[in-house]
Symmetry: C5
Subunit: 336 residues, 5 copies
Amino acid sequence: MIKSEKASPKDVIMEVYEFGENVLKKHHIKNIEDIRPFLEVSHKFWLNLCGLENEAVLKEISELFNIHPLTLEDIKNTSQRPKFEEFDDNIFVVTKMIYHKNKSHSPITEQVSILFGKNYIISIQENPYDIFDPIRTRLENPTGKMRKMGTDYFAYTLLDIIVDKYFDCLEFAVEKIESLEDQIISQSKKTKLPEIFNQRKVIQQIKRNVWPTRELLSAWKKSENPLVKKKTNPFINDVYEHVIEIIENLEIQRESISALVELFMSNLSLKQNEVMKTLTIIATIFIPLTFIAGVYGMNFQFMPELGWKYGYFFIWILFLGSTLAMVYYFKKKKWF
Amino acid sequence: MIKSEKASPKDVIMEVYEFGENVLKKHHIKNIEDIRPFLEVSHKFWLNLCGLENEAVLKEISELFNIHPLTLEDIKNTSQRPKFEEFDDNIFVVTKMIYHKNKSHSPITEQVSILFGKNYIISIQENPYDIFDPIRTRLENPTGKMRKMGTDYFAYTLLDIIVDKYFDCLEFAVEKIESLEDQIISQSKKTKLPEIFNQRKVIQQIKRNVWPTRELLSAWKKSENPLVKKKTNPFINDVYEHVIEIIENLEIQRESISALVELFMSNLSLKQNEVMKTLTIIATIFIPLTFIAGVYGMNFQFMPELGWKYGYFFIWILFLGSTLAMVYYFKKKKWF
Amino acid sequence: MIKSEKASPKDVIMEVYEFGENVLKKHHIKNIEDIRPFLEVSHKFWLNLCGLENEAVLKEISELFNIHPLTLEDIKNTSQRPKFEEFDDNIFVVTKMIYHKNKSHSPITEQVSILFGKNYIISIQENPYDIFDPIRTRLENPTGKMRKMGTDYFAYTLLDIIVDKYFDCLEFAVEKIESLEDQIISQSKKTKLPEIFNQRKVIQQIKRNVWPTRELLSAWKKSENPLVKKKTNPFINDVYEHVIEIIENLEIQRESISALVELFMSNLSLKQNEVMKTLTIIATIFIPLTFIAGVYGMNFQFMPELGWKYGYFFIWILFLGSTLAMVYYFKKKKWF
Amino acid sequence: MIKSEKASPKDVIMEVYEFGENVLKKHHIKNIEDIRPFLEVSHKFWLNLCGLENEAVLKEISELFNIHPLTLEDIKNTSQRPKFEEFDDNIFVVTKMIYHKNKSHSPITEQVSILFGKNYIISIQENPYDIFDPIRTRLENPTGKMRKMGTDYFAYTLLDIIVDKYFDCLEFAVEKIESLEDQIISQSKKTKLPEIFNQRKVIQQIKRNVWPTRELLSAWKKSENPLVKKKTNPFINDVYEHVIEIIENLEIQRESISALVELFMSNLSLKQNEVMKTLTIIATIFIPLTFIAGVYGMNFQFMPELGWKYGYFFIWILFLGSTLAMVYYFKKKKWF
Amino acid sequence: MIKSEKASPKDVIMEVYEFGENVLKKHHIKNIEDIRPFLEVSHKFWLNLCGLENEAVLKEISELFNIHPLTLEDIKNTSQRPKFEEFDDNIFVVTKMIYHKNKSHSPITEQVSILFGKNYIISIQENPYDIFDPIRTRLENPTGKMRKMGTDYFAYTLLDIIVDKYFDCLEFAVEKIESLEDQIISQSKKTKLPEIFNQRKVIQQIKRNVWPTRELLSAWKKSENPLVKKKTNPFINDVYEHVIEIIENLEIQRESISALVELFMSNLSLKQNEVMKTLTIIATIFIPLTFIAGVYGMNFQFMPELGWKYGYFFIWILFLGSTLAMVYYFKKKKWF
Ligand SMILES: [Mg+2]
Ligand SMILES: [Mg+2]
Ligand SMILES: [Mg+2]
Ligand SMILES: [Mg+2]
Ligand SMILES: [Mg+2]
Ligand SMILES: [Mg+2]
Ligand SMILES: [Mg+2]
Ligand SMILES: [Mg+2]
Ligand SMILES: [Mg+2]
Ligand SMILES: [Mg+2]
Ligand SMILES: [Mg+2]
Ligand SMILES: [Mg+2]
Ligand SMILES: [Mg+2]
Ligand SMILES: [Mg+2]
Ligand SMILES: [Mg+2]
Ligand SMILES: [Mg+2]
Ligand SMILES: [Mg+2]
Ligand SMILES: [Mg+2]
Ligand SMILES: [Mg+2]
Ligand SMILES: [Mg+2]
Ligand SMILES: [Mg+2]
Ligand SMILES: [Mg+2]
Ligand SMILES: [Mg+2]
Ligand SMILES: [Mg+2]
Ligand SMILES: [Mg+2]
Ligand SMILES: [Mg+2]
Ligand SMILES: [Mg+2]
Ligand SMILES: [Mg+2]
Ligand SMILES: [Mg+2]
Ligand SMILES: [Mg+2]
Ligand SMILES: [Mg+2]
């Protein structure tokens, strides 16, 4: 299997896969000029470029493939909204990979611009790490669709892998949300509201990219460009359905998170209620008793009760009777 | 009545009902190849298949009935969204059964893929248990519509039974919600918020499946496929209206649940208010009294009041007066 | 004036009004067969039928008037959504009467199915009591529109009365909501949250029926059926506008109820705040004083202050000073 | 300047302005029949009628101007929704004036029905007071557009003044909302939640009338009636833009009010927190001290500490130490 | 670089840039009449006018450029909604600059009306300070698009700079929101709710202007006016995409702020809970102990325990035992 090389992100890395029904060759390109010969051969090729810092390289590419200056800016502006744009001799697609490099962090969003023409597919990423290894593997299969079908099918497979990754990220978020839900229902003390809000942000991060992806696919489905073959249609429709499924799941998760916050807050209120009841029961029973004890602790010279033989005994009866009355009152109010 | 057999879910179970205006035969099939002869006869047949684990069987079916690989994947992917898809010589429908196997658990969602062509209906379920016994009974009636009308009417009856089951599940949820409402209004102590949130999830589970079912039926109504007979139209429209009714009821239940949560929380606040008032009344009356008692419990050598003849008597007047003043104050504030 | 008879709801009651520009006769029908002659005469007739329990009668009607089995089911299913449906020789309308039989209960919803053809109008109700007496009165006027215009105008008048009744029910709910608002603003103790939620349910009950009525009227307005005369158009449009007005008022009431709940809860918070402040002021002033009194109530043999001549005098200065300081502090914090 | 006369609201008041490029005459009409001659002259005239109680007058008008009975009912029904309706020889517009007769009360809504034909404009109000004086002034200008342009322009000016008044009412509400906001932010004690809710109602009152006014203008813009001149189009569009601006401002105010309620409630929570902290700090410091003082106030015969020389001194060290520890604890918890 | 002069805002300031592929001249104009010659030359010119107070100047301009009186009012009315309007020989665009003159204040909204015809662009601002210096710089570049392309391209660049400024303001708000979020998560005491609500207002201020800007651009894109060149289309589309991006970011910030308020309020509840627990634990432990101490501080003559040798010792065992029992109880309840 051919693997993608890592390099210092300051430089641009370029890999070129020349392929056809009987051919598969991987080339390492140093200069954009090295690509020109591929444009003339009868095979198709995939140029995968990583890194947006080198302005000169991007400029040369835009000249070689006749890219409009505004499109070049879209490629360089990594906050570009996903879109599908048709030009005279190629189609330009902006997409967003979302993946976890490290499961303990938030997922990373990386822009991937895809340009495909009659015999070329160009993918331009922000940095070398990508999720396209399955494509590199599938290319090696000489009887696979990748080698036989048009460049639009190739672009579809890139998008399909990106959308599948959305499912992974969503699933990972769902697991976290469900574990938070378990914590809240079991009233575990370690639940932290900011964690819940963090998952809300992840859901929003996916939603933010998946909604324009749906528009992108909708435009692709309706496109009548000759580069978009009729045979690829069912495949585009399939990714489109995946995107709809993700959107609906995101909505469900959004509602789950709202429910979690509500549940968390109501648990807090329930606990507060219990705390206040405990305080009130204790205070209501003992404060009057303490007052009575205080009364007979006064030092007045003339206090007849103090001299009674059963005074102390009577006072204990008063203490107990008052306590019982209070307990009965609280029982009737269903405070226990 | 012909009943569906249960088997180990690892295997695929297949029952074939051969039927026509004068015929009804049930066959037990072991190999997919055994189905081929039915395709040639003039009768219609229903193939009901349970179990998705055996890849080989599904592969054979997809070859026999000329199913697109993406459609085969939709059948296998049990999180596929309900949909209506037309092909050259058959129509593919994905639906979801929702039923209670055990009333004390949440309802179960099971995917049912339906494929119908000129003289065959195939239903593919996840596991053997199903809700289609009424269909098996209706098939036995030689003058019933099931035997006379086209395969689209047969597919409609499957869908109709599925949608009727949604009503059952919804009704069961409504009963639970209403009993929760009674509990909350009677301020019963056993109400648990997680139970309310559970019902919210059930409502969402139904909603999630019923919304795309509405789109499915809308597409079916508009379809101009020759397999969709004009005579079946009013029936499709009828299920469609049922689905709309379910959607509106779901919305009403969703609002009921929100109202319940609000009511639960406000009851909690009302109780908290009462607890705090009790504490405040007791504390406000007795804390000053205890202070006064404390004052005359001090051991200063020179405290003139202690020597007064009516000191103790006066102090009790002070105690009672202060209490009455407080009670009057609270009465005026309407705290009782 | 001709009045509707009451009967045991187990039986079906049928009244037939034969009418034309010069004719008005009321007939009591026992068998459906008795209706057949009316179909042939040149006059129009209104058949008003109450009671859905007698399956045989409904079956006979459906045969006499050529009603589709699914439509018959819509008539029997009292949770059918209001709708407008056109058939070859008649038009079928499902509507809902909402009325108060008893002002202290929630309003009652009763389904009324209306079927009108060239010279007949059939109205089928769940039970005998109805709100159609004004129609019976208007029929008696020989120069009124009821006698001159088509059956669609007759159906319109039925609908018009039903919609006018929605206004009555809404107005009754509004009065209750406004009285609840007055109670809450005057902070009356008798306000109960469940009463507010009850009004929310009434609003929802009306909304639930009025929304599909709007769709029904919208379909009627657009209908090009020959049974729908152009002259009736402005009348249909007028009911339509009433329905829009009801919908907007329902929305306003829904918001009022939300505001009421908010106001109720915030009043509760304001009261709780006041309770807590009272407790805190009393406790904060007296707890330290009680401590000081306690100190000089200790029985240590060596406590120099106890022997001072002005000890008791000084301690009172301490008590008063501390109290004044506290009062000043609370004043500054604006707690009074 | 010609001014509108006030009269007892029981009667109908009618003023007629006959006008043309060279003419302006004001007439006082007692009987509807007096209007008939104006219909024949070549000048245009404006009939302004105040009061809906006199059924006879309205009846006569409806006969004179050929008004449909349903339209007459719309005029009399003061809860009619604003609308634009075209008839064979005139156009009927229902609008709502909203104005403050007294700044300390809520604004008043008054229905104004406008009917305009080839050479007449009729405005029908509920009662004599109106906001049309600027129109009376503009009419006096012989070179103004009012005198030259068609009746649709005249109707536009009426509507324009009505919409401008919405701005005034909105502005007045905004001022109140802003002063409530200042009160809440400065935590003034006089803020009352019902006042906030009152402003919400005013916003809703305007919104309720301005939304259908938008539909009305939208219909007017699209109208192809010969009475609607192309030259008036930019003016209608201008009012339409004002209405959109009002709608957007209403939405902003609605959100401001929600924010105010939130702010009010959270201020309440903040205060409650402070109250509780004060109580807790005082109680937590003094309750244990009071206990210790209580211990040494016990009268046991054998209590060795009481005889110690420095017992009293040590106890004060204990008091101070415990207090300091508590203060340190609260400091660490950031309660101060 | 040519810079904009500042002047007293009472006066109108006018700068005229005459430009073409080979020409760039800046003129200072005192009277509107001085502009007339530019209208005849073959070059294009940009008239930038600051100040709306001088009615006479605006009147003269409207006559010179044939501006409709309603459009003139739109220019003067600084609360005009952004819009795109086509006239016979020019196009009128209303936009809003939003910028920070001082970072510690809220951003300022200033209306900029743009009118462009075949060879002129007029921009009319409220006051002299603007954000158009980059345009003045770009004009100096003789090979730049500004000099070569049509007046619609010039108008686009004005709009582009305005939209870019929205990003700056949004970013500034986002920074503040994020710092508020950090404060809330770290539970810093200095967080003030009014600051959060202030940022909500800024978000709303941008949203309010950016939504109609989207409509404006949408109208521009669809315009078939000859002044709108096909070559400018991709540029308009580019600004349109920026506007969509801003709208989505505003929505995200709106949700962030809601989450912040929720987080703030729940932190408050958590703190309150902790405060109440502290109070309850201390009070529940010491109040009963103080009562017991009070009992043995009573002065009854007959109290046998007082004479016991180990009475005092036993009482301490009771104190400690009771305390331990309470602590155990709280531990079990997980209050620590
Ligand atoms: Mg979105
Ligand atoms: Mg899906
Ligand atoms: Mg959805
Ligand atoms: Mg949803
Ligand atoms: Mg959604
Ligand atoms: Mg919700
Ligand atoms: Mg949905
Ligand atoms: Mg329904
Ligand atoms: Mg609905
Ligand atoms: Mg609804
Ligand atoms: Mg709703
Ligand atoms: Mg809904
Ligand atoms: Mg609705
Ligand atoms: Mg209305
Ligand atoms: Mg509405
Ligand atoms: Mg509404
Ligand atoms: Mg509304
Ligand atoms: Mg609201
Ligand atoms: Mg709500
Ligand atoms: Mg509305
Ligand atoms: Mg506006
Ligand atoms: Mg708006
Ligand atoms: Mg709005
Ligand atoms: Mg809005
Ligand atoms: Mg909003
Ligand atoms: Mg908006
Ligand atoms: Mg975007
Ligand atoms: Mg958006
Ligand atoms: Mg969004
Ligand atoms: Mg949005
Ligand atoms: Mg939200």
